[in-house]
Subunit: 221 residues, 2 copies
DNA sequence: GATTGCGTAGGCAATTCTGCCTATGAGCTT
DNA sequence: AAGCTCATAGGCAGAATTGCCTACGCAATC
């Protein structure tokens, strides 16, 4: 939801950074939470929070890269900006390949960091919108019964043969029953035509296969 | 086409690299072309070649990063593996953000480079397939006349109201004429139902907006 | 000047879709 | 046992789609 304020999570083992960074970021209007280590962050992370992670590369217990790996696809909604004291090219490339937003070296101007965080938030907002859009679609599809979903699958997989007669033959039941299911499907999905159904399902499949939300779809069968 | 062998383009100002790299890569079965500078590569680049660029970061006339920038979206079909002697984190991050496949530091094992090149080819193949798929779809849509495309747009934009009567009213012409156009549209696109049309157009729009091929589509209007 | 392609439009008949009714049996919950 | 959802299936009437025909005017092309 866009009414949840976007937070900056600062994870750094260096007390000086934990002191100065939040100060600068709060002055810029960000809401900030601070953690002294990656495990400390993970301890309070319930998988639903979103926001920008500003994270030190090297830390004793768990490095920034390890945290990134640990978060996996959830990191989509936790864009990371790495901060490195002595990190090398190898680490920075790994971080970027792992989907980091950016990777900046100490020392840095706080304005530069702010820029990166704002870019991260822009991306995050996009992803959250996409996720919500998918969730809404999914919700509607979830109201369908198994049989209805089966018919949707069939229609989407093979939109060239969508007369009730053909579908009925395919499923071995009366075309009249297909008509009945069709009506329920359109009603539940709040649409008005089979064409719209195909459009909706196509978008749902494409959008969701690119996010980590792909599951329980009317399957390709 | 996948029958075009995938080439490795080595761009490096260092004669030693221009000597050793191709040797190693050819031994691994790659087809290799060598260039001593970015401009030299660009001189023979006609915008259609695809392949993996193995490129030095620092070069006198034009740096690897400048080449990357210069290629712009065409770089999609020229995945780049950077090689850096003295490059720092800043450059590597810029390269990665610019869409580079990878960024490795000298010295490196040739096996490591080969791995990266193979990953690049895998990605490239995917992108080429996508491009081709889009091109095929586009070709079919291009056969439509202006009026036909207008009707397609209308149907795709508003699949809830697709009866010929409604479209006719919207365009201010007879529903009968819409029927006629519809028939031509289905025929030209080699499909059999309006539902299939919506699916096709939806996929086309989504697929192509993510590539640089988006243009001349049945527009959103 | 004839041909071709395009947009326009109508007729007619077969098929299909849609909406509104009823109805039965299976399976589950209360 | 009663009530619920779901899948099944039919009737019927109005609306829409589809395929196949003809036709005219306009513009470009040969």
């Amino acid at each position: 939801m866009s009414d949840t304020p976007l937070k900056v999570y600062v994870v750094d083992d260096d007390p000086a950074m934990r002191n100065s960074l939040p100060r600068a970021l709060r002055k810029r209007g960000f809401e900030v939470e601070v953690f002294a280590s990656a495990p400390e962050f993970l301890a309070q992370y319930d998988g639903t929070q979103t926001g920008c992670l500003v994270i030190d590369l090297r830390m004793p217990e768990m490095s920034g890269l390890e945290l990134q790996e640990h978060l996996g696809s959830a990191a989509q909604f936790l864009p990371m900006v790495f901060i490195s004291g002595h990190g090398g090219v190898r680490e920075s490339v790994q971080a970027m390949k792992g989907g980091a937003m950016d990777f900046i070296e100490k020392p840095f101007r706080s304005a530069a960091l702010v820029e990166r965080i704002e870019a991260a938030f822009a991306l995050l907002r996009e992803r959250l919108e996409m996720r919500e859009k998918c969730a809404e679609l999914r919700q509607r599809f979830d109201r369908l019964t198994a049989r209805e979903a089966e018919i949707v699958s069939r229609i989407v997989a093979c939109p060239a043969e969508i007369s009730s007669k053909e579908i009925g033959r395919h499923l071995g039941i009366s075309p009249r029953t297909i008509d009945h299911h069709r009506a329920r499907i359109l009603e539940k999905l709040e649409i008005r035509s089979t064409a719209e159904l195909v459009g909706l399902a196509t978008r749902l499949r494409i959008d969701c296969e690119s996010s980590n939300l792909a599951s329980g779809l009317p399957s390709q069968e």
